[in-house]
């Protein structure tokens, strides 16, 4: 662990020296991280690769995680001290597929669901894709790294639940309005990451406006490698049958229209 930047009382960014993982990571992939020593907590936890860190000569030095405190491991990672060794396995899972211009990329992030979009925005930027980030949080102080996205030329559409920044309410509201307003023959790819409800709404809205949508789902993951079958998502296949698909192998990025939302 080479840096721990606490952004708020719940959020921090952890920088890890892990050059080979970072160099291999694609936007949307994740790493499995072991917090604490001993057997409690026991299992690793999945985290999106937030940033790929580089030195002056642009050599990859490591990666960072955007961490939100919600339980045992995330609390340990929030309080991690410099120099601690944090085991990190990856990159794992299927990444987002970045589109090419002239298709526009509309990213939809809820809370810590921002994490995979920093690297995705980089990839889109280097492909010259016009991108928009729809980003919702509880309050203004929990909207992070806006300058990073602005710097990449990403248009920002912000919402907060308390109205302290951007539009008041849910992030799917402006998304839907914009989709409704857009010409059907102007191609858009929707990317989404955030709470289950937000993902389901986003996927349904995308279907309604006939847009493809890649969602990054969040399941409790025991292994991240396909070994435990803990992380399944019900997917509807063409014949209408529902199959349980392991989101660590087939995902975390999955086609939103095929997920059988509850």
């Amino acid at each position: 662990m080479i840096a721990n930047r606490q952004l708020s009382s719940d959020y921090n960014v952890l920088a890890l020296r892990a050059p080979s993982i970072a160099a291999a990571a694609s936007p949307g992939q994740f790493v499995m991280v072991k917090a604490g020593s001993g057997h409690d907590p026991l299992l690793r936890r999945p985290f999106s690769v937030f940033e790929v860190l580089r030195d002056q000569t642009a050599g990859v030095t490591g990666l960072s995680l955007l961490n939100k405190r919600i339980g045992v491991s995330t609390s340990l990672l929030y309080a991690a001290r410099l120099g601690e060794r944090i085991a990190c396995l990856g990159p794992l899972g299927r990444p987002f597929s970045p589109v090419d211009a002239p298709t526009e990329a509309w990213m939809v992030a809820g809370g810590v669901g921002l994490a995979p979009f920093a690297t995705l925005a980089h990839a889109l930027c280097s492909r010259g894709v016009r991108s928009t980030l729809f980003y919702g949080a509880r309050r203004a102080q929990e909207l992070f790294y806006l300058d990073l996205f602005r710097g990449l030329g990403v248009e920002l559409v912000l919402t907060t639940e308390d109205g302290s920044a951007g539009e008041r309410g849910r992030v799917v509201a402006p998304l839907e309005r914009r989709l409704a307003a857009r010409r059907a023959d102007a191609p858009v790819m929707v990317y989404a990451c955030g709470p289950e409800g937000m993902l389901a709404s986003t996927a349904k809205i995308a279907v309604r406006y006939n847009r493809p949508c890649q969602v990054s789902v969040e399941r409790i993951m025991g292994c991240g490698l396909g070994g435990c079958y803990s992380c399944v998502v019900p997917m509807r296949s063409d014949d209408g049958r529902v199959h349980h698909v392991r989101s660590c192998l087939s995902g975390p990025v999955l086609p939103g229209d095929q997920i059988s939302w509850e």
Binding site: L43, L89, C223, G226, Y229, V232, V233, P234, H244
Partner: protein
């Protein structure tokens, strides 16, 4: 001494190159790990429990972490034995894995049918009879919690296969040793234990179970002391080999089971925490043998020295 160290162990007619087996349900079908782990370097790979037919298993959440352990109720999602033979076995064979197929049945006939199919397949080293899955109604617990049920299913499968037969025992019983005895009497080549402990966890804020299936099976380091005791009890009860498991996380834990009486061990939950555990386990055991001048790992089995102990105790 290094060069002459013998890590091999025998389970009936089967020789494993070392005592370390990936536990069923914790290593997918093995192929998922083929790029991370040299499958041929393992003593064996016990693949995920298979029924005759495909199954989708339980809805999520399927696991939850508990102190030094985890609860799971996967519900035996699986591709069924036939697809396994066609889709997975060839790669396992190509990787020279020693494949132990873990099987489940809703009925005695299903166990028999699956065993018959597996006996004709190429590349199956042994059958592990899962009569102890706590997570589904038809998970074999009706067999695994009854002595006659255990005897009957093992006998029936014994009649249709010459493959080494390893009933996997549940710890959710008063006297596990009697189930080891019933298995041996019915012709099992070995027994494996323990499967998981029936357990549950509640989210107090919602007052709902933390996993969709309400109850699940507890695994991981938390259960190790109970599992070691059960292996030790079985060791006094039967002569057939015992494959011990439950919370093994390092070479020392594996050796603990062997000293208690296990000829081989399986590692499940710890493989989730560290998929690179396998070479560490093998090296750790070799290192221990070197330090203790043990030439054959099989000589470790059942060497617990209780002489100093006050032997006044009840094995329930």
């Amino acid at each position: 001494m290094g060069a002459e160290m013998d890590l091999s162990v025998r389970i009936g007619a089967l020789t494993l190159k070392n005592p370390l087996i990936a536990a069923s349900g914790c290593f997918g079908y093995g192929v998922e790990y083929a790029d991370l782990v040299d499958l041929a370097s393992l003593g064996g790979v016990a693949v995920k429990g298979l029924f005759l037919a495909e199954r989708e298993g339980h809805p999520s959440p399927r696991i939850v972490e508990t102190p030094a352990g985890m609860l799971n109720a996967i519900g035996l999602q699986g591709i069924g034995v036939r697809r396994f033979i066609f889709e997975k076995l060839p790669e396992l064979r190509a990787r020279r894995a020693t494949v132990i197929v873990n099987i489940c049945g809703s009925t005695l006939d299903e166990y028999v049918e699956i065993s018959r199919i597996l006996s004709d397949a190429e590349g199956v080293a042994a059958i592990e009879l899962n009569i102890s899955c706590p997570n589904i109604k038809e998970g074999g617990m009706q067999f695994g919690c009854s002595l006659t049920g255990t005897f009957d299913v093992v006998s029936a499968v014994r009649k249709v296969t010459r493959l080494p037969l390893i009933p996997k025992l549940t710890p959710n019983v008063t006297d596990v040793a009697s189930f080891a005895r019933a298995s041996a009497d019915a012709g099992a080549d070995a027994v494996s234990l323990v499967n998981t402990f029936l357990a549950m966890a509640i989210d107090v804020e919602t007052r709902r179970p933390k996993i969709s299936n309400v109850v699940g099976g507890l695994s991981g380091p938390a259960i190790r002391p109970i599992a070691v005791r059960m292996v030790y009890e079985c060791r006094q009860a039967v002569k057939i080999p015992i494959i011990g498991m439950g919370g093994i996380t390092d070479a020392r834990d594996a050796i603990e089971f062997m000293i208690a009486g296990a000829t081989a061990v399986q590692v499940g939950t710890a493989n989730f925490v560290d998929p690179f555990i396998w070479p560490k386990l093998i090296d750790g055991i070799s290192d221990y043998m070197r330090r203790h001048q043990i030439a054959r790992v099989a000589d470790l089995v059942g060497t617990l020295d209780t002489a100093a102990g006050d032997k006044e105790w009840t094995a329930s």
